[in-house]
Symmetry: C2
Subunit: 250 residues, 2 copies
DNA sequence: AGTCTCTGTTACACACCGTCACACGATTTA
DNA sequence: TAAATCGTGTGACGGTGTGTAACAGAGACT
C-alpha cells in the first residue's frame, strides 16, 4: 500500500499529491493518511521492529525508555512537524506515547529509504534532522549531568517558549501540555521538585501561572539567566571566577 | 593539502592507496597521513567551523562541552576505530581533546560528503555509525537521569570492559586511561564520589585494583547487576519490589 | 636523598533533592 | 449530595552526593 507511491516511476503516482521530485522531506508523508491517537495511547514500543518513520502533524508525543525497576526517562517531546524514528537501525530505541490527542502520518521505512536513494536533494535535509536530534541529545546530557533543579526547569521553560511554533500565538506565553510527572521524567527530577521549583519561580515573579498548564514569562532575561547556559552577560560577570555557590542570594 | 586526494577524479589519486570503490567507510581515511596529539592537547573546539571528520587510529579522545561557570560535561570517549565529527552541520557541537597520546587521520568534510554521494554502498555504514552514536547518547541520558552513583560507575566499568577491543588482551581486565576527573565529568558526579564509589566496589570484592588505572573484574555478574539495566536475573529477584534502598548491606 | 607537583583518597558538615505524608481542587461515580 | 479518583501543591524529614578540606602516593626534578 504505502510503497505504491515510491516503488513506481513518477508517472505512476496517481493517488498522491506528491510531486515527482519532492523538494522537502516532509512531502514524503503527504501521500499517507493521518492516524489519530488519544492522549496516553502508545504509538510504538522500545524493542519493536522499527518498520516505520512518523511525522507528527498535530499534538505532542513523548519518547521514553524504561529501566529495570520501573524508572522512566523521557528523552524528548515531539511537536507538530517533527519526525520520529529517523536515527534507528532495526529496532526502536525507545517507546512513543501521545501526550495530547495526536495525529500523525506513518511511512514505511523501506519507501522512505528508497526515496532518499532516489532523490539526493532530500539527503541533506534528512541529515540536518538527524543532526538536530543529536544536538538536542547533547544539550539534554548537559542538563542532566550538571544543571541544578532550578536550571533544569528554567531551561525547559525556555525551550518550550522558543518552540512556540504553531501552538500559541504570543511569544511570552508558555503552554505545558504534559503532566508534572512527564516533566520530572524528562528533567531527571521528581514531581515534587518540579512543583516546588515552579512555585519558587512564580514567587520571584519570573513567571506567572495562568492555570495549571499555562504560564506567562514576566522576566525573560531572568529566566534566560537561570538556564545556566551562560547566554547572558550578567551571569558571567557577576560570578566570582570558578566559584559555584548557591545561585540565589536569599 | 589534504583535499588533493579527493578534489580530483579517481585517476588522479596517486599518493593514496585508496581503491576507486572503497568497500568500507574507514578506507576513506587511509589516504591521509596520521597526525599526532599529546595527552591533553586539543583537536578541535566547540563552535569551530566543522571542516573535518576524524578517525581515531590510536589512543583515546574525550569529547566535551563547557557551560557558563566552567562546568564541564564529557559526552563521550572515543577509541581507536571510532569516527569523530560525523553528525554535525556547520559547527562542532563539542570540543575534543586527547586523553592519551593520540594518532588520528583527518579528512576534510567536503571530500567525505562527496565520497558518500559517489558511492552509495558507504551510506548505510555511515548511517549505522550515526545511529550508534545516537543510541549511546540515549543510554547516557538514562544514566545521567536516573542512575545512582554506584550504578553509574558500574555501568562505566562494564562499558569499558566490553569495549576492550584492541586495548588490552584479556576480558576481565579494565584499563581506565582517563583521570578520575574525566570519569566524574562523564558520569555527572564529582571526583570524590567516583573515588568513594570505586573504593566501595573494591571493598566488596567486585573489582580489585591493579594500580591507579587498572582493575580486574572479580565478580562480573555482580558488576552487571549493579548497572541497574535489568540485564541480569539476580537483580530482579533479589530486590524487594519497587524498593530502592541503600544498595550495600555493609 | 629531598622537594614539588599532580592525582587520587579519605573525612566530615551540609545542601539539595528525594521520600513520605497529607491537603486541595477538579472531575467522575454512586 | 457524598465518595472516589486523579493530578497537583506543600510540608517535614532524611539520605545521597557535594564542597572543602587535609592527607597519601607517584613521578619528575634538582
Amino acid at each position: 500500500m504505502l510503497s505504491v507511491a515510491y516503488s513506481a516511476e513518477a508517472k505512476h503516482v496517481t493517488a498522491a499529491r506528491l510531486a515527482p521530485q519532492p523538494e522537502r522531506l516532509e512531502e514524503l508523508f503527504c501521500a499517507v493518511p493521518r492516524e489519530s491517537f488519544e492522549a496516553g495511547e502508545g504509538v510504538f514500543w522500545e524493542g519493536d521492529q522499527a518498520d516505520h518513520v512518523f511525522k507528527v502533524s498535530e499534538g505532542v508525543l513523548r519518547v521514553f525508555k524504561i529501566i529495570a525497576d520501573g524508572r522512566r526517562v523521557i528523552t524528548g517531546f515531539l511537536y507538530a512537524g517533527d519526525l520520529v524514528g529517523l536515527s534507528l537501525k532495526d529496532r526502536y530505541l525507545y517507546s512513543a506515547e501521545a501526550v495530547t490527542p495526536v495525529r500523525l502520518r506513518r511511512l514505511a521505512r523501506k519507501p522512505f529509504a528508497e526515496a532518499l536513494e532516489k532523490w539526493p536533494d532530500l539527503r541533506p535535509q534528512f541529515f540536518a534532522r538527524v543532526c538536530d536530534e543529536m544536538a538536542t541529545a547533547q544539550d539534554q546530557m548537559v542538563l542532566l549531568s550538571r544543571k541544578s533543579a532550578e536550571e533544569r526547569v528554567a531551561t525547559f521553560l525556555m525551550l518550550l517558549a522558543r518552540r512556540l511554533h504553531g501552538c500559541h500565538p504570543i511569544g511570552r506565553r508558555i503552554h505545558l501540555p504534559m503532566s508534572r510527572l512527564d516533566m520530572a521524567d524528562y528533567l531527571g527530577l521528581t514531581i515534587e521538585t518540579v512543583s516546588r521549583t515552579i512555585t519558587k519561580l512564580v514567587a520571584r515573579g519570573v513567571i506567572s501561572p495562568e492555570g495549571r498548564h499555562d504560564f506567562a514569562i514576566c522576566k525573560p532575561g531572568k529566566l534566560l539567566a537561570l538556564c545556566g547556559d551562560g547566554d547572558s552577560y550578567e551571569e558571567t560577570i557577576d560570578r566570582e571566577p570558578k566559584m559555584r555557590q548557591a545561585i540565589w542570594p536569599h
